[in-house]
């Protein structure tokens, strides 16, 4: 029997995912497509929001979407109403998207024919935070009905996201949503995060978000060409 000894190995457990995500990011950069991933709890209104965004962008830009769902294709069917190309990734029992699933789903796509690609993650505020998908921007969405302290309960996903959207603003008065408390919660876990408050249903605030996307696309391409 030999004495146990310690050997250093230093291996990133998610290396495989990270390698694919890096390759995807490079592919997106060279194709000039701006990729937004969306994360939220189940029922926050990701699909409604995304359907509205796609519908608004569609006449002016070339847009497409990937949507992750545990079992059904309902979300893909809803998003397809926007007339944008939509592809479903059924994750089965898996609670999040991984870079390899995105890579598989995108096979055969001409990315340089797109301006924006949206990737709707599975409704879950925990698991998706660990997985880089190669996106240009990670958007976390919460609705006014979820409570102002949601960011404090799920700091990791808010911290790993780049921008926050607070939806269902048409219900804010009914649920006595306290905007200032929500803003402070987000600021505490993700200092400096840009926040959009809007209603996908009434369209309130949607133009501001669209302008933001246009600006980010321009910046993305300016960097890609340098």
């Amino acid at each position: 029997m030999t004495e146990p000894r310690l050997v250093e190995v230093r291996r990133n457990v998610l290396k495989q995912n990270d390698v694919i995500a890096r390759a995807l990011r490079e592919q997106f950069r060279s194709a000039g497509v701006f990729v937004v991933s969306l994360v939220s709890s189940p029922g926050s209104g990701k699909t409604t929001f995304l359907e509205k965004v796609l519908t608004q962008l569609q006449p002016h830009y070339r847009v497409a979407a990937l949507v992750g769902d545990l079992a059904t294709e309902n979300d893909a069917v809803r998003l397809a109403r926007s007339k944008a190309p939509v592809k479903q990734i059924t994750t089965g029992t898996l609670c999040h998207l991984e870079a390899a699933m995105v890579q598989n789903a995108l096979q055969g796509w001409e990315l340089n024919q797109l301006d924006y690609l949206f990737m709707e993650n599975v409704g879950n505020l925990v698991c998706p935070s660990s997985y880089d998908l190669g996106e240009s921007l990670r958007l976390v969405l919460m609705s006014v009905t979820e409570g102002e302290d949601k960011p404090l309960k799920y700091p990791t996903i808010f911290n790993s996201s780049d921008v926050a959207v607070i939806t269902k603003n048409e219900l804010a008065a009914a649920v006595e949503f306290d905007w200032e408390t929500a803003r402070k919660s987000i600021e505490a876990v993700r200092p400096g995060m840009q926040i959009f408050r809007l209603s996908a249903k009434t369209g309130e605030g949607m133009q501001g978000f669209q302008d933001f996307l246009a600006q980010r696309l321009a910046e993305h391409r300016a960097v890609a060409h340098t």
């Binding site: 050997v7 190995v9 990133n12 998610l14 911290n159």
Partner: protein
């Protein structure tokens, strides 16, 4: 709950490293950042399932928690965050996103024994 797939990734990585070195693993040391998005208890439980029927069947998972360390722009020093609910310097209160550590999910060492030649 994605800890089972993470645990399987740990077993896979450790098995590869062990085979390359021709050693038997008795324990896997993992660095787990507070911002990794992985729950330690769920991971320890999942590891017991993931190691079954693998060369790591008898091994332990030893988790070293890594707190979030930020570089405070005002103090110009690394500081350990007190809580994930407040990304501010614990000394001067300046908010910051300069995260230096805390996202680790890394197999950093293996406790090994040389494989017995007689086997």
């Amino acid at each position: 709950m994605h800890e089972l797939s993470i645990a399987m990734g740990i077993v896979e990585a450790a098995t590869e490293e062990a085979q390359r070195r021709g050693v038997q693993v008795s324990a896997v040391h993992l660095r787990l950042g507070a911002l990794s998005g992985v729950v330690k208890d769920a991971l320890l439980f999942s590891y017991e399932v993931a190691r079954e029927d693998t060369p790591l069947a008898g091994s332990k998972l030893i988790v070293e928690d890594v707190p979030v360390v930020i570089l405070c722009p005002r103090c110009n020093e690394n500081k350990t965050l007190i809580s994930l609910q407040s990304f501010t310097c614990p000394d001067c209160g300046t908010p910051t996103m300069n995260i230096v550590r805390g996202k680790e999910l890394e197999v950093f060492a293996l406790e090994v024994e040389d494989e017995e030649v007689s086997k």
